[in-house]
């Protein structure tokens, strides 16, 4: 059965704050589909991504999220991840003292242990082979495996490390929050090819972006525009092209009344 992500009338804000950032989001993503989410700065895209992943900094005040028929709101972030949800962060944090290799091995082992508490986890040689394969595919220097995660990584290196995690963990639905920002043209191609190669009936993708260029590689089935914490427009690939041409003015004009400043 497909692991559909269903978001219904989602309202959320920063934990302890009055004002909602997300103001009634509706969105359904099926495995195998690619959705693009666009929208001006500050419209709530990253907030949506974080709320979906279960970031405790945000509080959901209304609405529902189901993932493969299960209530996501009942789960902590780690359970959501093990259920098959993945978020490539817009601003990945550095994890001092934890190497990329150790981190990914622990993440894989957490999955194996959740399935079978007796599991001893992936063997080291098997893991090394897996990791090196994925790193080669993403044209990453194998030295990265021994570096502390994201510490001192350049912007582009961080984004690539996020995709490495995506490729290793093989989720059902992946949210890419501006993974294309800060990448040079070659890096963008490598990352996009990486995502492209993972795409298929098993993976649903939500690409949050400001640019058409990544969508040239990872072709979306649906494009949505978020404005003021609401998805105000949805359409096909032509919607992204129109935004690229015209910007957001028409969106603002059309929806100003619906969305108070």
């Amino acid at each position: 059965m497909g692991a559909t992500l269903e978001i219904r009338n989602l309202w959320a804000g920063v934990e302890g704050e009055e004002d909602a950032i997300l103001r009634g989001v509706d969105l359904t993503i099926q495995q195998g589909e690619v959705h693009a989410l666009m929208g001006p700065n500050g419209s709530g895209k990253s907030t949506l991504a974080n709320v979906l992943m279960g970031n405790p900094a945000y509080e959901v005040t209304e609405g529902e999220i189901f993932f493969g028929g299960e209530d996501l709101m009942e789960m902590e972030a780690d359970e959501r991840s093990r259920a098959g949800l993945f978020l490539a962060f817009q601003y990945p944090v550095a994890i001092p003292g934890v190497t990329v290799a150790n981190f990914l091995r622990q993440a894989l082992n957490a999955r194996l242990k959740a399935e079978d508490p007796e599991s001893k986890g992936i063997s080291v040689p098997q893991f090394v082979r897996l990791l090196q394969g994925k790193m080669s595919q993403l044209k990453m220097d194998h030295n990265f495996a021994g570096r502390y995660l994201n510490e001192g990584f350049s912007g582009g290196e961080k984004k690539r490390a996020e995709i490495l995690q995506l490729a290793t963990l093989e989720p059902k639905i992946a949210i890419l929050d501006e993974t294309d920002s800060g990448l040079d043209i070659d890096a963008l191609r490598v990352v996009a090819e990486g995502v492209e190669s993972l795409k298929g009936p098993e993976l649903g993708v939500l690409v949050i972006t400001h640019y058409q260029r990544i969508l040239n590689h990872v072709a979306p089935d649906f494009v949505h525009v978020m404005y003021g914490g609401v998805i105000v427009e949805s359409g096909g690939p032509e919607l992204a092209l129109r935004l690229e041409d015209e910007g957001y003015d028409w969106v603002r004009e059309k929806h100003e009344i619906a969305v108070p400043a």
Binding site: A57, D78, R80, S81, R82, P92, L104, Q106, R111
Partner: protein, 447 residues
């Protein structure tokens, strides 16, 4: 009237006397100069009051829950000679592969194993029990023992140590000699009562050595005290790597004075780990005496339950062009309390000195308390000095990142704490020892 449990109002002292000192000295057949040194130290000891909270250095450390009747009598003086197999195998494992240059194992202050390879001995390196050294290398020991680094006048416990030290090690590396293999000392204590261990290391001009000293004891019911002194003498252009790892049981109180002196262009890499004891009060002082001397001090500590650690560090720049780099990292959980107080000092007009000092504190419970007090007293203008203490908890943002990859909350905490210490553990030059330390850290996290 409500019953109030009080600590002793006045400070009791350990139940030891000049008679104990004379017996100890006689039993060891000590040369006269050594007995005299003990007697002089005893006199100083008797002239000093027990430290109290009124003393600036002791303001944050109240040790009045020590029961001197248990912790005070000398542990060496009772019972049968223990066997080496009381010591966990990990503590005795060779430092590198199957090799180490030498091993001295003390149990309850008695030397019970001595290994020292011919190769190092033929190079002129001397590595032995300090009593033995004071006979065999009398002139050398007499010149250095509590004369240049730790002095009996440094404090009440330094004086007590001078009077009643029970055992020790002496490592001497002659000029231009490189000890290729690391040396290892294990200090293991199975009994209540006091042991007073001494470490004296002399690395002469242009010589090199690495020494690891382990301190440990199995869980016990009764209190114990360790009143130690460590003296590290690093000659001109010499290089010493010194690692001291303390994991005494929770009934032990440690009071120690440790001081290193580094000569011209000499280098000291000094690592201290503090995991055990009920209470530790340690003075760690680095004296850069020669132009261009360099010292790195690395410390990690992890206090849990109701442990209390008080670590005083000093970096004294006594010559121009000297540099020091101190990094301490500690964690505290439960109701533990830690204090780090650091000071960088220079003599007047020591130009071009570079002193760096930072202590990073990781607070793992609301009821734990950590103090970090950096300090700087520099009397020169052409200097680069910086000092800081930082305090933090496990950041939710980092926790979320790890958990968003499926890692459970407890595992994520473990990884972040391990990660916090990793930078320091990597400075320990022995993989096997690093693994042992990591296990000890994880055991504390999970306890």
């Amino acid at each position: 009237m409500a019953r109030v449990r009080r600590r002793q109002a006045t400070l009791a002292a350990p139940p030891v006397s000049e008679e104990d000192l004379r017996q100890l000295s006689a039993r060891n057949n000590e040369p006269a100069w050594l007995l005299n040194h003990r007697l002089e130290s005893w006199e100083i000891y008797e002239s000093l009051p027990m430290p109290t909270l009124q003393d600036e250095e002791w303001r944050r450390t109240d040790y009045r829950h020590i029961r001197w009747e248990e912790a005070g009598p000398l542990a060496t003086q009772n019972g049968a000679r223990p066997a080496i197999d009381v010591i966990p195998k990990e503590n005795l494992a060779p430092l590198i592969g199957e090799e180490q240059g030498g091993l001295l194992v003390f149990v309850d202050g008695e030397l019970i194993r001595y290994e020292f390879g011919d190769a190092l001995a033929q190079q002129g390196i001397y590595f032995a029990e300090l009593q033995q050294a004071s006979q065999e290398r009398s002139e050398l020991v007499q010149r250095y023992f509590m004369q240049k680094a730790v002095l009996p006048t440094d404090g009440k416990f330094a004086a007590l140590h001078g009077a009643l030290w029970t055992h020790g090690v002496f490592l001497y590396v002659p000029p231009h000699v490189v000890a290729e293999l690391p040396l290892h000392v294990v200090n293991y204590v199975t009994k209540p009562g006091a042991t007073l261990g001494h470490v004296l290391v002399i690395v002469e001009e242009n010589a090199q050595a690495t020494l690891l000293v382990d301190y440990a004891s199995p869980p016990g019911e009764k209190q114990a005290a360790y009143i130690g002194a460590t003296e590290l003498i690093v000659g001109d252009a010499a290089n010493l790597r010194y690692v001291a790892l303390q994991d005494w049981n929770r009934q032990t109180f440690e009071f120690s004075h440790q001081r290193a002196r580094v000569g011209r262009e000499g280098q000291l890499d000094w690592i201290v780990g503090t995991m055990g004891t009920q209470l530790t009060k340690a003075h760690l002082e680095l004296e850069l005496d020669g132009r261009g001397a360099n010292g790195r001090m690395s410390g990690f500590f992890f206090a849990d339950d109701d442990q209390h650690f008080d670590l005083d560090t000093q970096q004294n720049h006594n010559a121009p062009l000297t540099s020091t780099d101190l990094l301490f990292k500690g964690a505290a959980k439960d109701v533990a309390r830690t204090v780090w107080q650091g000071m960088i000092k220079s003599l007047p007009n020591m130009q071009k000195i570079d002193g760096y000092q930072v202590c990073r504190n990781l607070l793992l419970s609301k009821d734990a308390r950590m103090d970090g007090i950096p300090g700087l007293e520099i009397e020169a203008d052409d200097v680069a000095c910086s000092h800081a203490a930082t305090f933090g908890t496990l950041e939710e943002e980092l926790m979320f990142y790890l958990m968003s990859r499926g890692i459970t909350r407890p595992q994520a905490q473990l990884m972040l704490i391990d990660g916090f210490f990793d930078e320091l553990l990597q400075r320990v030059p022995f993989a096997r020892v690093r693994d042992r330390l990591q296990e000890a850290i994880e055991a504390k996290i999970l306890s």
